[in-house]
């Protein structure tokens, strides 16, 4: 071939590269903000096992299936698993992190309004994976 010019293709590739650089930069920036855990976040230990969630608050209170938190505070989840891989997910608050046995994975969030939200498992974990659900109850601030 070679009897046509190549510059439109170079321009096109340049535009794609520019777009991808932009996507990467935006994503990098948001990830940087989202990953920064506030220093005063309360720790909640989340334990995943086939096929339910249990939670342990900083003051030692334990809960199974339902998690109570207060609006206006930041919480840091330390997620562990007792058997197989799970994935801790509060879709309404865009919280997601795998529970991998032998590891402690962390993710944080700060609920802003009182309300009720679903907690679910997003990583395949066997027989009752579809029903490994819980509730997040965000309460009004106590003070």
């Amino acid at each position: 071939m070679g009897h046509h010019s190549n510059w439109p293709e170079w321009l096109y590739v340049g535009v794609i590269i520019a777009l991808m650089v932009w996507v990467g930069a935006e994503a990098w920036n948001v990830e940087r903000l989202v990953e920064h855990v506030p220093a005063d976040a309360e720790v909640i230990i989340v334990t995943a096992q086939q096929w339910f969630w249990s939670f342990e608050h900083e003051d030692g209170t334990k809960e199974i299936g339902t998690l109570h938190v207060e609006a206006g505070k930041a919480y840091k989840f330390e997620i562990i698993s007792k058997d197989v891989n799970h994935s801790f997910n509060i879709h309404d608050y865009v919280v997601l992190m795998d529970a991998v046995p032998g590891r402690v994975n962390t993710v944080w969030f700060a609920p802003d309004k009182a309300g009720e939200h679903d907690i679910q498992c997003r990583e395949y974990c066997g027989l009752l994976h579809y029903n490994m659900r819980g509730k997040l109850i965000v309460e009004e601030p106590s003070r």
Partner: protein, 91 residues
């Protein structure tokens, strides 16, 4: 026509994205903690704005080509390669 396509993409980068950025930036009000929902979903909608813009250009081009260069189009004419039979196949 291909120049136009490139032009539209450049315009998308220079004009559309910064303005979208600006609109989203105003929605962020100072709070004690950042709201991950706002940040992540804003990123998502920004990317979708661009994806659908580019998608409209690409599929628009594709549809136009398919319509214009179909062999039943009134202005369709044999390509220069048809006479010499040199468009692929064993050389």
């Amino acid at each position: 026509m291909r120049n136009l396509l490139g032009l539209f993409l450049v315009l998308a980068i220079l004009v559309v994205i910064p303005s979208v950025d600006h609109v989203f930036a105003q929605a962020d009000e100072p709070a004690k903690y950042i709201d991950r929902r706002v940040l992540i979903w804003n990123l998502f909608f920004k990317l979708m704005t661009v994806a659908f813009t580019v998608g409209a250009v690409v599929s628009g081009t594709l549809i136009w080509i398919v319509w214009r260069f179909r062999e039943t189009h009134p202005q369709a004419k044999p390509t220069e390669y048809e006479k010499s039979d040199t468009w692929g196949g064993p050389a």
